[in-house]
Symmetry: C2
Subunit: 449 residues, 2 copies
């Protein structure tokens, strides 16, 4: 729609706890930012008639509910073809046997374009309006990923992966030197920031050392310096598995978090994927730096060997959002990540071994509920990235997903009498791509059925 427009109906978001917005009128500017949010607007309010007459009103039905767009903090874009496979080996074998060979194919730009276009379309269809991507070491393909996001209208943070350590990276898929990795990262930052049509920074670069084991100290330090210089945010992995956490302790004498901080990589807006084995001092350091954790409950089941102590870390005040971790996690749906976050928190709380007594089995107080999961998938992601997204508030971008009850391939069935909490629990526990009717990013309608 040209000019300002508005949407009218019910919505739900999570500024802190859950807030239901009943008969809400959300006005959106031409720049895609929310101008105003008003609730309890009567159906006969004259403003609605004026907007309707001007063709500037989207009106929801009683089967519809609007939620903030989903924010996926951790996606390996090149791994999309192996989604749902290769979940049977430990992390270190998974990388060497399956993942590095697949990622090395993105030297082929045509292959990269096909996969990346399909992935971005798929994620938008699932309601993911903001995607934080690891690409590969290939600069041309990584540039194309950023361009595809901009073209299709997905808010994205895109990183060229840096990985130069000769002991952990194979000959066929490794940066030739730290200098080249740093220079190409610098080139990507410039390319994305200068992309025509990207004046509002819908797509942003991200500095992306793969993880400490794959990077030499020189690369880590060089990328840290580049982050300070360019004020570009950072993404990497942190204390993911027993092996990975132990490997860094052995090599560096300190934890991943300490190594990253020493290199200047722990910054506001930095995203650390997993963090399953971080210590209390690690958590305090992450909080002090304003960095965030991408909780990836799906892949942790297969590659972590433990459950991230989410409740404890939320209580310590960390910024935490959710990641699908495609393709370590076998789902492109952030709804799936949200419900799995609830599920694994319950298994952490209860424990798993029925031969132990209930008291000896679990970890009391570890559970989260659907409200917390929803918050992490929306407002928590926005806070993590330090961007005005994930809430229906003036000054925030209008990134939104319209869910509709009763769609042919959908799971959602709202009854009239249900409470907002009841509807939200159904959304978190049941929703999938078949329930997504429309998706907006920065006020632009990017998916519709």
């Amino acid at each position: 729609m040209p000019g300002d427009w508005a949407i009218y109906g019910r919505a739900i978001h999570a500024p802190d706890g859950i807030e239901a917005l009943v008969s809400a009128l959300i006005c959106v500017g031409t720049d895609g930012m929310i101008l105003s949010v008003e609730t309890a607007v009567a159906a006969d309010d004259p403003r609605l008639a004026r907007l309707r007459a001007g063709g500037s009103l989207v009106e929801l039905t009683p089967d519809d509910i609007l939620i903030p767009g989903l924010i996926d903090l951790h996606i390996h874009a090149p791994q999309f073809p192996q989604l749902g496979t290769a979940l049977d080996v430990p992390l270190e074998d998974w990388l060497q046997r399956y993942t590095f060979p697949l990622e090395s194919r993105y030297e082929d730009l045509a292959f990269a374009e096909d996969v990346y276009a399909c992935l971005v379309e798929t994620l938008l269809a699932h309601g993911t309006t903001t995607a934080v991507y690891f690409a590969t070491i290939h600069l041309p393909a990584t540039k194309r990923l950023a361009e595809i996001c901009l073209d299709k209208g997905q808010r994205a943070l895109v990183g060229r992966v840096g990985m130069d350590h000769p002991e952990q990276c194979p000959d066929f898929y490794r940066d030739a030197s730290a200098e080249i990795a740093i220079a190409e990262t610098r080139a990507l930052i410039g390319h994305i920031r200068d992309l025509p049509g990207n004046e509002a920074a819908l797509v942003r670069p991200m500095i992306t050392p793969r993880f400490v084991p794959a990077c030499t100290d020189a690369l880590l330090e060089g990328l840290g310096a580049l982050a300070a210089e360019t004020r570009c945010t950072v993404q990497t992995h942190c204390s993911e598995s027993d092996w990975e956490h132990g490997h860094v302790l052995d090599r560096c004498g300190v934890t991943d978090t300490a190594v990253l901080d020493r290199a200047g990589l722990l910054r506001r807006g930095s995203v650390l994927a997993h963090a399953n084995f971080i210590t209390e001092p690690d958590a305090a350091l992450i909080r002090a730096r304003g960095a965030a954790v991408a909780h990836c409950p799906l892949s942790n089941i297969y590659f972590a060997g433990a459950v991230f102590p989410l409740r404890e870390m939320l209580d310590q005040g960390l910024h935490i959002g959710l990641g699908s971790d495609i393709a370590g996690g076998p789902s492109a749906s952030l709804f799936e990540a949200a419900r799995q976050a609830v599920a694994v928190s319950r298994l952490l709380e209860s424990g798993t071994d029925s031969r132990k007594s209930a008291a000896a089995r679990g970890k009391p107080g570890a559970r989260i509920d659907f409200r917390t999961a929803f918050r992490m998938a929306t407002a928590g992601g926005g806070e993590s990235l330090d961007l005005p997204i994930g809430l229906f508030r003036p000054g925030y971008a209008f990134d939104a997903v319209l869910l509709r009850s009763g769609l042919p391939d959908g799971n959602l069935r709202f009854a009239e009498a249900e409470s907002a909490a009841g509807i939200l629990e159904k959304i978190v526990m049941l929703a999938g791509r078949g329930d997504v009717a429309q998706v907006w990013v920065a006020g632009r309608l990017v998916k519709s059925r």
Copy 2:
């Protein structure tokens, strides 16, 4: 199609390990039973031309793969409206606060018809060709559930719930006496067996004491005698949670399994839901009687407080299939139950508490993989029920699901080069209702898009 017909293409099933059926020709009789299965049939085989000319051939495309229909061993039909909600309290509270009030509403036959019709349609759309249902204590609504299954063509086993214990069942939802519960169960058995159109026993009755806590000894013994007399199979719950398992030990001095056996309820074809806390002698008794376990990984997360030791019980030779446990489990999809069976087995193996050492955390050897999960969802369910379903074999019913790669709301993307195991892993880890193109039960096409 009138007369015999055939389907030609690729299929996969799990007679023991996984068996890929390449260029398979499956011939189906007018009674819906498989007449023959032949593989490596050339595309120019003259039989194909003859069948095609006679309009009696269904031909799959390279995007298609046929799997046996899914067999869901544990569904509470009346709980469908609360799917995805009320997962925040222990089992005993969940029953009293949410579930018994909802189930009591099925005295209203119109309400029951609406819910049951929607549920049966939904399950067929998800590829569930055989459904094992708990209904409620209401005989008229339970009869209607059986009739709806027959009408819509779903293979089903349907039970009127018996629950007469005044301490565990509320006044508003309890059998007035053991005698009435037994008499109405007998009436249901006769009604279903004599239903017009049910000569092939597509729908079968099941004797259904809710669980030991809800039943007096008189009811358990009376239903056991009825099972012997009518040769009707039995379904109930068994050792589900710490509370439930402990309650039965306190009341009866022995485990659920022993109580059920004493009452004559452990029989070939009997289905015990959950069994999370069964002992080794319990497992030996279940195996000796030929009874089966319905593993319900989704609901166990919320209501069991532990993970069913699946690998161990499979190794002990028990019949085991999968249950969605609607609505204790927040999904109607047996694919979801299959992948969650893999996931929780991994968490049992690894343990969950990252503050413990890897050695102290888990239970080595507890994992299952996608092959085992697929087998439980198909052939394992058929074995559990002692019915010729779940395999593509002569003498088995043609109950089948056609999955198609690339459907608009689907998750499956098969590449030409993938192995049968790779395709099957994607199916188990990713498939949902949006991937289901067609569904047959007893040779009848019951869903198609």
